[in-house]
Structure formats: C-alpha cells, structure tokens
C-alpha cells in the first residue's frame, strides 16, 4: 500500500477485556515498530520486528502486551486484561532495512479503556 495502515482508528473497550490492534506496513519494509503515545508525550517504544521475529521487545510494559508478525508483513499488537492506564494512541511504523533506517508512521489507533 501507499503508507502504513492501522486498524481500527478508534477502539473503546471495557476494563479487563482483550484487544487486538492491526498494522499493515509499507510493502517491502522489513522492519516494523510499535509505539505508544500518551497525551502530551512523545512516542514510547514498545517492540521492533525485523522480518517475522521480534528483534527488541524491551519496551513492552508487562506480560499483558504481546505482538506478532507471523509472515513478516502485517503485525498485530495484543493487549490482555486491559486497564485504564493502557488508554493511549498506539502508533505503528515501518522502515526498509535495519532499525536505524527512516521510519514512516501510520495514523495510529486511539485506544480508550473505560
């Protein structure tokens, strides 16, 4: 596709529920990143994939968060037992090559946990 696509654009869920956020990167981009951005803050790194494998998952805040990229393209960020503090905009980015290449961001998914 022309750019990084994220779905849904908005998600409202009840506390304790499970959610999945999807990212469709730019075609041919091998690297994919997930970030979380809270109001008034910079994007906070969560996890980075190179191909199908997670090259760095050090930013995942706890074991309720998990991400997969089974075929090296689309990625899904999964959050179990959501908490109100998980409310944020979740941004996905992709780049061609290593983690130091220029990253292009999607429009984000705004997650609200009520």
């Amino acid at each position: 596709g022309a750019g990084v696509s994220q779905t849904p654009s908005n998600k409202v869920t009840e506390k304790g529920k499970y959610v999945e956020l999807r990212c469709d990167p730019i075609s041919g981009h091998t690297a994919l990143y997930w970030y979380r951005q809270s109001l008034g803050q910079g994007p906070e790194f969560l996890i980075y994939f190179q191909g199908t494998g997670a090259a760095d998952d050090s930013g995942l805040p706890n074991d309720r968060f998990f991400a997969v990229r089974p075929e090296g393209s689309v990625s899904t960020l999964k959050i179990q037992r959501t908490e109100r503090g998980d409310s944020a905009v979740y941004l996905c980015a992709s780049s061609f090559g290593t983690g130091q290449a220029e990253a292009f961001f999607g429009q984000g998914t705004r997650l609200t946990v009520v």
Binding site: Y33, F45, A103
Partner: protein, 108 residues
C-alpha cells in the same frame, strides 16, 4: 540506554521572529531524526541527519547535528502560523527513541 531530551517543551513564537529548539541525547546515535506532529495526526518525517556537522534545510526550518556534543538543533526562521505543531527529535538505538516534543505556537 539512549535518552533524548528536548527543550523547551513549549514555545510561544511571534510571527516573523527566529527561534531554536534543542535536542540532547545521552549516548552515541548514528542518526538523528526530526518529526512534526499536528494535533490528532501522526508523525511526519522532516529531516534525517546522518553525520557530524550535517545541516539540512527545508523552507523556514533548518536542522543541524553535532555528534561530539550530542546535540541537534532545529532553527526556525521568520516564524509563520503554519509552523504551529509539535516537533520531535529522535535518536537511534535499536529503534527510534523520541524526546518528549516541543509544542510551537505562532501568534501574530
């Protein structure tokens, strides 16, 4: 672990005047990026600075990089309202590590 600090966090600018945003980073970063974010929107790439002494300019914005001082600056020349947005710098660890952002507001 790379840490990135920006200052100021907020900048109220008058149209026509010049301003500078500073970005300090804590450890070696091979590249330095500047992004722009408009309210409710995603991040738009502005500049990629690849080496010490690199300078890039686009319109009223000019970015520079001093890797020895671990400092990048974003200079705004003759501010106009269209530049009102939040600007982030990001260094490179395994992935991009962002500062907290500088929110610019331009008034006439």
């Amino acid at each position: 672990e790379l840490k990135v600090e920006q200052n100021p966090l907020f900048l109220s600018m008058q149209e026509g005047k010049n301003y500078t945003i500073y970005c300090n980073y804590s450890t070696t970063s091979d590249r330095l990026y500047w992004y722009r974010q408009d309210p409710g929107k995603s991040l738009e790439s502005l500049f990629v600075l690849l080496s010490n002494g690199a300078v890039k300019q686009e319109g009223r914005l000019m970015a520079s990089l001093d890797t020895k001082a671990r400092l990048s600056t974003l200079h705004i020349t003759a501010a106009v309202h269209d530049l009102s947005a939040t600007y982030f710098c990001a260094g490179t660890g395994t992935a991009l590590i962002f500062g907290k952002g500088t929110t610019l507001s331009v008034s006439s």
